[in-house]
Amino acid sequence: MLDQNRVEFTREMKDSYKILAPNMLDVHFSMIENLFKSSGYNVEVLRNTDQSVIEEGLKYVHNDTCYPALLTIGQMISALKSGEYDVNKTALMMTQTGGGCRASNYIHLLRKALKNAGLGHVPVISLSIGGIEKNSGFKLTLSMMVKALAALSYGDMLTVLKNQTKPYEINKGETDALVKRWTDFFSNEFAHNRALSPLAIKKYMKKIVKSFLKVETEDREKVKVGIVGEIYVKYSPLANNNLEKFLFDQDCEVNVPGIMGFMMHVVGNGLDDVELYGGSNWKKLKTKLGLWLMSKYESYINEPLKNTKYIQPATYSHLRELVAPVMGHGCKMGEGWLLTAEMMELCESGYKNIVCAQPFGCLPNHIVGKGMVRIIREYYPDSNIVAVDYDPGATKVNQENRIKLMLSVAREENVSDKPETVRSF
């Protein structure tokens, strides 16, 4: 039972308050921002990344707590203290996934931190699919969720294409500019509640692919690296010391599996629970419906990529199939079986060099990350996986050195194997 004395985000606040949210996925979140605005919430995704973020985090969050909690909370407190926001007219928003991992506690750690920082009056909105906490001034309606799905699908699509284009572009900067053009475009459309219907999505997805095909690229083999890990560290450059950029600078092509898989994983867990341990049919039906809806969006991404030169992201059902013989689907805390499945899928689609990024001491990752490297090597003998821990004390030098080792091995394999062409799977 939780403390019911939390500060609620009331209906009155909805109109006058600014809502700050931590950043994780640049491409996706920049579009989401406007989606909220169109629903009447003045949301701003935080982009402050200076040293004070880590400092405030260390100060107000138990230092042994995972790094993502430390960073996101640090980012919000640092923003509140910066003087840029009226702390009496600002609320915070944080996602809450629930589940047996420490992550479901972030929001409570945030409230605790706010209290200690003398900001206890700032309301915190929990953003969760199940609606773990209620606020009279904020409701994640079904229609908002569906819209968010659309935005996230666009984000995933842009990321897939960006990652497969940028390393090979001939005119430097062209890909990034294209991504920017699209995110700006969608932000604007979303503000007017457009580009969100299934029909529109199908249309724009095709257009996006076409636009990327027009980017002039060179035909050259690069070392292909996949990134998996704890969700925040996997995506956030703040947490992973700009891992994607580092790999890009090392002349690699990077594949970071999208957010859609994670969302479906979270929703699908409910179904697996019922399958494994028993439960009501109603729960089962609801989850199935949710999954069905999400798989539609998944296909909006995959369909237009078929028969193109691009490697399609794996579908949720394929990931499930892959991992079934290794651990089944009951392992659900944190990224659970999805993380292992993503590693296998990356190997399968030619990204056999993998960085598994996690916060130092991440519990689920002992199991699904480091704990599964051995078996993945058995399945894919040429897989080349490096697990890297991130925390405020770990230094870039050490991390990069380990990644470079992985890359050296990758390059050597590339030379000795002379793979005919990896894409013909």
Binding site: M1, L2, D3, Q4, L58, K59, H62, N63, T65, C66, G98, G99, G100, C101, R102, N105, H108, L109, R111, K112, A113, N116, A117, D273, L276, Y277, G278, G279, M327, G328, G330, C331, M333, C362, L363, P364, H366, I367, G369, G371, M372, V373, R374, I375, R377, P381, D391, P392, G393, A394, T395, V397, N398, N401, R402, K404, L405, L407, S408, V409
Partner: protein, 982 residues
């Protein structure tokens, strides 16, 4: 073809080779670089240029952990060092199977045959050259001397091998207990080997032709011997074993031609332009420093007083972790004579010298009291027959009161520990001791100074005027090592690194140990002490961080000893028993190592004999070897639970199938359930053996994540044990959910408890010889359980009928609830006894698996033998009711912790207190500890947390518990005297 130069810039050394066209080494050099990488490499290039005057155009590549930034700066090709080793090995010793390479701060294993794999230590620097250096300096030796000592070992102690800091807290007590140097030395080297195997091999067998490379393995013959012995294989250490990285680097040079002299100039010009995060300077100018000094020089008591006419004096001795402090005070509480010395691995002779000096200087002295404190309290007390042994915290408080009667916060940063305590109402209220993971503090500064070629005082002084101190953050020292490396790479000067280290020590104390959210709220009357605060830079950093002035007594370093002396004065019972002048002359000290046969623990004991009669035994986990026939009644619920569990023994069933149950993690609570279930089903049941160090080592090579908690690591050993005993199947299910006890918002297991069976399935070869049943099972859904479980069992066995499973599971649920009921009844009984007999109660909060002797290291025994009634958290089951918490209360085991904390508060009884056991690396406990603490604090209760790991020594734990007992006592006395405040 031009010369090829390979430059290997390691964390502490610079290695270089030059190859000619035939791949012959025509030049090689190895030296320490003391972080002056660019200067040293310029010198090196000059030397090469001079030696080969006709070769100006060369190929060059850089490698090494400190070489990355360097290579970037001067735009040279960088070769990852492990990779370089691989290249060199394939060129020179192609039939190698495995390479083991230890460096300054890195450890690597390369598997070259049967699937190439390279492994490198993660963020942990344990088991490397730096580790050996650090341990050697703890013993006051060089690494070379340590190697020589190790040759004559006769006994090996268990030393936690994971991390240098842990090992230190194992070694320190060994030193203080008088263990032999040669034995400690060999044990350290063995720990390195274990670390390398468990941390890097991760389940892959090391066999075939093994090659040893790198500094430590080249220079330390005994380390090689340890590897040979443990691996059961003779490895070779080739010629040029120091240079393989450099050779491989040279071999990997690209075609680019570089003029060696131009390169030298380039290096000279390209440094110093990198940046790092800087903090404000400690002092702006000298004037500011002088004002600061003047202020602190006022906190003085006389240190060169004379004995009064009565010649009455008192002695206090503080035998700390790395230093010995002793003071002699007169009747007026002024210091007559004092010493502050490193203990050099054996405190006894130093105290003997001190006493001899005292008797020589003051032949007619009348010693009326003597007290000892610190890690070596007991050995010194026994050796010299001192009157009192007091816990350090009390000693420090007694001394601090002398300076400021209103003192409300004391912080002591010593050689390897931080101690802080809050004082309210004249009693020590909350105690913070640094956990094993961040203990580096003073001694860290020292070894860092040493590594850079400075004394600690000089090194700290350098920082006073550093203009842009490096921001090194607040983290455990092992990580700080690499932060410093990074800072060096970023061009930080030694002054700024020094200042940065001082600041980070302070931050460590404040934010990691005390966990303040606002440093300004620590207290109004703060006294700082301990040797580390003798460094003005640290003191200044502290004042800057908390935002106001503090008192640093001039005798800061000897406060513990001074406090002990004051205590001896207050508690004096007349003439002191301390060894007299004559006996001192014939004082002898002998040490023997034996194994105790008192019980199955088989503790390794060190027996100190003083002057042939007086004995002091250390290393024991219980009182058996020291106390003869002292049959005191103990109330220990951990023991009671163990007894209950011991009723579930191996047994035969009608089916000819044996199910093995690993006694680890949640099986400690689920045993009644599964045991009953399987026996009812007619299976034979076999339990894994008792956890021991040996059992752990059996499974350690298949642990894939070296940062997982110790209870999880132990599972591997239990599985090996079961497989060896030939069971038909091992039953170890995945359990996302636990029983719903209705206390929280959900009833999960922690991720490790829930899913560790997956790790076992995919990482242990042993399990392939039998069947592992590790399906997902939901015991919380009783309604569905029989059906689901019938299906699961049918996958493995014939003749599984639903109705049998149903009946067996009914029995299992019944048995489980009966087991829980017994525990809860015992809890009630204990509470009643405590109340009747007026005994203090300690609620020892942990997890069910903390019952394991190998995990709790006998802490429960210590508490109950100290006279407290010990109740486990689940023993309070009848007292729990759901209540609002500030965190999401979603784990079954952890909900009990909050419930226990609530009960302790609600009891409103100063005699009932809580101690929380936390396994190192338990991520969930980062959440629970804060919550339990805040529940207790809200109600003005003392919070005591004990972090446990592989560590087998109880020294620090005992200090903490004794401080707690002392504080409870004091608090009660004060409450009696002044009435309660609430």
């Amino acid at each position: 073809m031009s010369l090829r130069i390979g430059l290997d810039v390691g964390s502490t050394t610079l290695k270089c080779v030059v190859l000619n066209e035939n791949n012959n080494i025509i030049y090689a050099n190895y030296e320490r670089h003391f972080s002056k990488i660019s200067e040293k490499s310029c010198e090196l290039l000059c030397a090469i240029a001079n030696k080969f005057p006709n070769e100006r155009d060369v190929h060059i590549a850089v490698s090494g952990s400190a070489g990355m930034g360097f290579a970037e700066d001067i735009e040279l090709n960088f070769i990852q060092e492990v990779f370089a080793t691989k290249i060199a090995i394939s060129a020179y010793i192609p039939d190698t199977d495995v390479v083991i390479e230890l460096g300054g701060e890195d450890a690597k294993i390369l598997f070259l045959t049967g699937g190439t794999e390279v492994r490198m230590n993660g963020s942990c620097a344990g088991g490397t050259g730096a580790f050996i250096d650090q341990m050697a300096s703890l013993l006051n030796m060089t690494a070379h001397e340590l190697n020589l000592e190790a040759k004559n070992y006769s006994k090996i102690y268990n030393i936690a091998s994971r991390c240098g800091v842990f090992a230190k807290s194992d070694i320190q007590p060994l030193i203080n207990q008088g263990a032999k140097k040669e034995d400690i030395s060999k044990s350290i080297l063995n720990a390195v080997v274990n670390q390398t195997i468990s941390g890097l091999a991760q389940g892959r067998e090391i066999k075939g032709k093994i090659v040893y490379l790198g500094g430590p393995l080249t220079f330390l013959s005994e380390l090689r011997e340890s590897f040979d012995y443990i691996l059961g294989n003779k490895g070779i250490c080739p010629e040029n074993s120091l240079y393989f990285v450099a050779i491989g680097t040279a071999l990997s040079c690209d075609d680019k031609i570089i003029n060696i002299l131009e390169l030298k100039d380039k290096i000279k010009n390209t440094t110093q332009n990198r940046t790092y995060n800087a903090l404000p300077p400690l002092f702006e100018n000298e004037e500011q420093y002088n004002t600061f000094l003047n202020r602190h020089n006022k906190a003085v008591i006389s240190t060169d007083a004379l004995l009064t006419d009565s010649k009455i004096a008192y002695i206090g001795i503080d035998s700390g972790s790395t230093t010995i402090k002793a003071t002699l005070i007169n009747e007026n509480e002024d210091i007559v004579y004092s010493i502050y010395r490193p203990n050099s691995g054996n405190p006894v002779p130093i105290v003997k010298d001190f006493l001899t000096e005292v008797y020589n200087r003051y032949p007619d002295i009348n010693i009326m009291g003597s007290a000892t404190t610190g890690y070596g309290e007991e050995i010194i007390k026994n050796a010299f027959r001192c009157d009192f042994g007091i816990v350090e915290t009390i000693a420090h408080y007694t001394a601090a009161k002398k300076y400021n009667p209103n003192v409300d916060f004391i912080i002591d940063i010593g050689g390897q520990d931080i101690k802080c305590f809050k004082i309210s109402n004249g009693a020590i209220d909350n105690i913070f001791l640094n956990e094993a993971c961040s203990s580096g503090c003073g001694s860290f500064l020292q070894s860092f100074a040493g590594a850079l070629g400075y004394s600690i005082a000089d090194f700290a002084k350098l920082g006073l005027y550093g203009e842009r101190p490096v921001d090194l953050g607040s983290r455990c020292t092992v990580f700080m090592n690499s932060s410093v490396k990074q800072a060096q790479k970023d061009g930080a000067s030694i002054e700024n690194i020094s200042a940065g280290l001082s600041i980070s020590i302070v931050k460590n104390a404040l934010y990691k140990v005390i966990r303040v959210s606002s440093a300004k709220k620590l207290g109004n009357n703060i006294v700082v002490q301990g040797g580390t605060f003798l460094n003005d830079a640290v003191l200044r950093a502290f004042e800057q961080e908390i935002g106001h002035d503090v008192i640093r007594p001039a005798i800061s370093g000897v406060m513990g000893a001074y406090g002990a002396a004051l205590y001896a004065k207050q508690a004096s019972r007349g003439k002191s028993d301390i060894i007299n002048k004559e006996t001192l002359k014939s004082f002898k000290h002998e040490v023997n190592a034996i194994t105790c046969n008192g019980c199955t623990n088989r503790c390794k004991l060190t027996v100190n004999t003083f002057s042939d009669t007086n004995k002091y035994i250390a290393g024991n986990q219980c009182d058996k070897p020291i106390q003869k026939n002292k049959n005191k009644e103990c109330y220990n619920m951990y023991e009671y639970k163990r007894q209950l569990l011991s009723a579930y023994t191996d047994c035969k069933g009608i089916r000819d199938i044996t199910i093995g149950l690993p006694m680890a993690l949640n099986m400690y609570e689920m045993l009644p359930f599964w045991h009953t279930f399987f026996t009812k089903m007619g299976f034979s049941v076999k339990l894994s053996g008792r956890s021991t160090r040996k059992l752990y080592l059996k499974g350690q090579n298949s642990i894939p994540s070296d940062t997982v908690c110790y209870p999880a690591k132990l599972v591997h050993g239990h599985i090996v044990n079961l497989c060896e005993s030939g069971v038909d199947a091992v039953f170890y299910p995945c359990m996302t959910y636990n029983f719903d006890e209705g206390l929280g918002d959900n009833h999960y297991n922690c991720p490790v408890v829930a899913y560790y069976p997956l790790v076992i399935a995919k990482n242990m070869n042993e399990i392939q010889s039998t069947v592992l049943i590790n399906n997902y099972i939901g015991i919380d859904q009783r309604k569905y359980f029989p059906k689901k479980f019938t299906k699961i069992l049918s996958e493995y066995f014939d003749d599984i009928k639903f109705k049998d499973v149903k009946a067996a599971s009914d029995a299992a649920y019944k048995e489980y609830y009966a087991y829980i009921e017994k525990i809860e009844e015992k809890g009630e009984e204990f509470l009643k006894i405590a109340n009747e007999k007026k005994l203090p109660v300690i609620v020892l909060c942990g997890r069910p698996y903390h019952l394991d002797h190998e995990i709790d290291h006998g802490i429960d025994k210590f508490i109950s033998e100290a006279g407290a009634v010990l109740i486990s958290e689940d023993g309070l089951g009848k007292r729990y009711s759901p209540f609002p918490t500030t965190v999401l209360n979603q784990w079954t085991y952890h909900a009990r912790l909050y419930g226990a904390a609530k009960f302790v508060c609600d009891s409103n009884n100063p005699d009932i207190n809580l101690v929380q056991l936390v396994s190192f690396g338990c991520g969930v406990d980062a959440v629970t500890t804060d919550e339990v603490r805040s529940i207790l604090w809200k109600n003005k209760k003392i919070y005591t947390q004990i972090k446990i790991d592989e560590i087998t020594n109880l020294g620090a734990v005992k200090i903490r518990l004794r401080s707690l007992f002392a504080a409870i006592e004091q608090k009660k006395n004060n409450d009696k005297a002044g009435g309660t405040e609430c």
